[in-house]
């Protein structure tokens, strides 16, 4: 399988994740969509790395995974805090920034 196949797969997964981020109402679901998007990024990194024979991409994937884990922990902590304060995790109602 060529590089194109992997990249295409990653692109599709990315767009599915994007769809989730755009359409979901629950904050946690949005987070899931983000995880999907980041995951597809990792596929890209590893694929490029493998096909170019350079390990750098994989190193970056490792970094990405670490950052993602941190982000997930932090994001969920925020979700919990939000819930505590506003008794909801529906993104529609978290619009204090509304102009």
């Amino acid at each position: 399988m060529g590089l194109q196949a992997y990249l295409t797969l990653a692109a599709i997964v990315f767009c599915i994740g994007l769809f989730g981020v755009i359409t979901r109402r629950n904050t946690i679901s949005i987070l899931l969509g983000i995880e999907l998007m980041l995951n597809s990024v990792n596929i890209n990194l590893v694929a490029f790395s493998r096909f170019s024979g350079d390990v750098t991409g994989m190193v970056f994937a490792v970094f990405t995974i670490c950052i993602t884990v941190t982000e997930a922990a932090l994001g969920l902590a925020i979700v919990i805090l939000l819930f505590r304060v506003r008794r909801t995790v529906t993104a529609d109602q978290l619009d204090l920034l509304k102009g």
Binding site: L18, V21, I22, T23, R24, I30, A91, D92, L94, D95, L96, L97, K98, G99
Partner: protein, 617 residues
């Protein structure tokens, strides 16, 4: 030559120094008396310099000391400095003298003021003197105009010295605005003149006029505009209304304004530009007629006043009318001479009145009476001033009045001449009315015990008294060797002039004596005889009312129109604009849903468009 100019400059700058030090060194100003001493010191130095300058220039030589100022198009548009000649230095001396004496006098008169106010007063005084001197010595119209405005400002500040008093504040504003109305004319005139001649410089312009290089077209308008400035400043009809109200300031200030500064500025301006006015005889005739009318009007008004300062104020207006008439008749020198003598004796009268007020604590004539016995010095001094004003021989006023009457007669103006004779009669009458009522009539019930003023006030009074008597005596004894050209001498009127003039004055005195001292003629009956006139006089000929009405109708109406315009048109446009902004803001802000997802959505759409663009392009 230059060295001669230096003394005039020194006289000018010493007052500037006094002002700057007193104004800027706040602790000194707060102390009051030390500031006053410093200011007086400067004034004395200034007087000495002015005297020396006068001495140097008495022969008629002029010296110019100027520095370039306002560069324009690579050349100097105008300069700044001093133009010292016989006329300006003598005027300078008068200003320095009166300013110095008034400052000394104020030390006694204002001894009850709080120190800070006293310091402020002396700062104003120094600035006032400096401004007037700058005006007197101005070598060009620009400096003249600037100093002219400074004088207006200082009179505003000093008239409103008791700014806690609403009347004083109102009087100050009134003086400021009415003189400003004239100043607008002056400014327009100066600019028009510059447009015609291409220069601001007095000497250059005089040269142009004498060589006939100045185009005559439209010159009448220019001189009329300049005359407007003088009308405002010198309280000519109809802009004289501010001067009586200016009495709200401290009495020494009135002395300064009436005698040497402010009101004399207009006469001095016309005198300085006499050669220009000579080119426009119609304007000169106007000047003469307005001057005569003002003199009569003010004299009548003065007869009906009970406030001693108001009587003196109207007499000033009246005398300014005299000077203007002389200038209008074409004999500016006569007017200038009267200006000088008047400056001395009017300062004397005002300061004397100040001494009376200081003693009696009232401005009202009925509150006074029999003061001659209690304040003999003041009585003598005031009498000297009064006699001088009435034009009794041997006194300073006599000579200059004679000269004016002669000049007007020589100028062929019979109407003004007759008016001026009547005014001379009225002048003697109302001044002696004051003298009899204040000093000789039955004393009113006094709670206080009036006495002669303290040394600081008495000294200037005596100096002025000696001067006003001395001038008359000197010229009478030394003969008609007046320092004013042969034309003046030739203009001396016919032989019957002097007896008639003196007679009318004595007649006025006699009438006053009969009415107010002997009470042979009932004052009420006299008033009844002139019923309508008296009523009119008490109403000040409704001029103030006319002004008020004009203000009400014209100014308020105009303001309302402007207000309507502003409220409904300008604001309307603004409201429409702001409403539009608000609505569009409201519409636009719906984009800001505050939901992060929507922003992600926007990013995705943007990315999509970008990709589309890249791939389709």
């Amino acid at each position: 030559m230059t060295g001669d100019g230096m003394f005039a400059l020194a006289a000018l700058l010493l007052h500037a120094l006094g002002f700057l030090v007193v104004a800027l060194v706040v602790p000194l100003r707060r102390l009051g008396r030390p500031a006053a001493y410093f200011s007086i010191l400067c004034a004395v130095g200034s007087l000495a310099s002015a005297l020396i300058a006068w001495q140097r220039h008495i022969g008629g030589t002029a010296s110019r000391l100027v520095w370039a100022w306002l560069p324009a198009d690579g050349q100097t548009l105008t300069s700044v400095g001093v133009l010292a000649d016989a006329e300006s230095t003598i005027m300078l001396t008068l200003v320095a003298l009166v300013a110095c004496l008034v400052q000394v006098y104020s030390l006694g008169y204002l001894s009850d003021e709080p120190p800070a106010a006293l310091g402020r007063y002396y700062a104003y005084q120094s600035l006032f003197a400096f401004s007037m001197m700058g005006l007197v010595l101005a070598p060009n119209f620009v400096q003249l105009f600037i100093c002219w405005e400074l004088v207006g400002l200082c009179s505003y500040l000093l008239i409103g010295f008791y700014y806690q008093k609403p009347e004083a504040a109102r009087a100050a504003v009134k003086a400021f605005w009415i003189t400003k109305a004239g100043d607008v004319g002056l400014l327009i005139g100066i600019v028009l003149l510059w447009h015609q001649s291409g220069t601001f410089d007095l000497l250059e312009m005089q040269g142009l006029v004498e060589s006939g290089a100045l185009p005559l077209a439209g010159l009448s308008l220019i001189t009329f505009c300049i005359y407007l400035g003088a009308v405002g400043k010198s309280a000519q009809f109809p802009l004289h209304v501010w001067l009586p109200d200016a009495m709200e300031g401290p009495t020494p200030v009135s002395a300064l304004i009436h005698a040497a500064t402010m009101v004399t500025a207009g006469v001095y301006l016309l005198f300085r530009t006499e050669w220009l006015f000579a080119l426009t005889p119609d304007v000169l005739a106007l000047v003469a007629w307005v001057g005569a009318g003002t003199a009569l009007l003010a004299a009548i008004l003065a007869c009906a006043q009970d406030d001693i300062k108001r009587v003196l104020a109207y007499s000033t207006v009246s005398q300014l009318g005299y000077m203007m008439t002389a200038i209008g008749a074409g004999f500016a020198t006569a007017g200038f001479f009267h200006l000088l003598t008047h400056g001395v004796f009017k300062a004397l009268l005002f300061l004397g009145a100040g001494a009376i007020i200081h003693a009696v604590h009232s401005n009202n004539l009925p509150d006074m009476g029999g003061l001659a016995r209690r304040m003999p010095q003041t009585a003598i001094i005031f009498l000297i001033g009064t006699l001088s004003l009435a034009g009794i021989p041997l006194f300073g006023g006599f000579l200059s009045k004679e000269e004016i009457l002669g000049a007007v007669w020589a100028g062929g103006m019979t109407g003004p001449f007759v008016i001026l004779l009547v005014v001379a009669f009225l002048t003697a009458f109302y001044m002696f009315r004051v003298v009899f009522l204040a000093f000789f009539a039955t004393p009113a019930a006094h709670d206080t015990h009036p006495h002669d003023p303290p040394m600081a006030m008495a000294l200037p009074l005596w100096i002025l008294a000696v001067l006003s008597f001395g001038i008359g005596l000197y010229f009478t004894v030394a003969g008609p060797a007046l320092p004013f050209g042969p034309a003046e001498a030739a203009a001396h009127g016919p032989a019957w002039l002097m007896p008639v003039a003196v007679g009318s004055a004595v007649g006025g005195i006699l009438l006053a004596w009969l009415t107010y001292q002997r009470r042979i003629i009932d004052a009420g009956a006299l008033a009844a005889a002139f019923g309508p006139l008296r009523t009119a006089a008490q109403k000040r000929f409704w001029i103030d009312d006319v002004f008020e009405a004009a203000y009400g109708v014209v100014l308020l109406g105009f303001s309302r129109a402007i207000g309507w315009f502003d409220r409904y048109l300008i604001d309307g446009v603004l409201n429409v604009v702001s409403a539009w902004t608000l609505t569009s803001g409201d519409d636009l802000r719906t984009m800001q849903t505050g939901r992060v997802q929507d922003y992600v959505y926007g990013v995705a759409v943007g990315l999509m468009i970008l990709l589309l663009w890249v791939q389709l392009a």
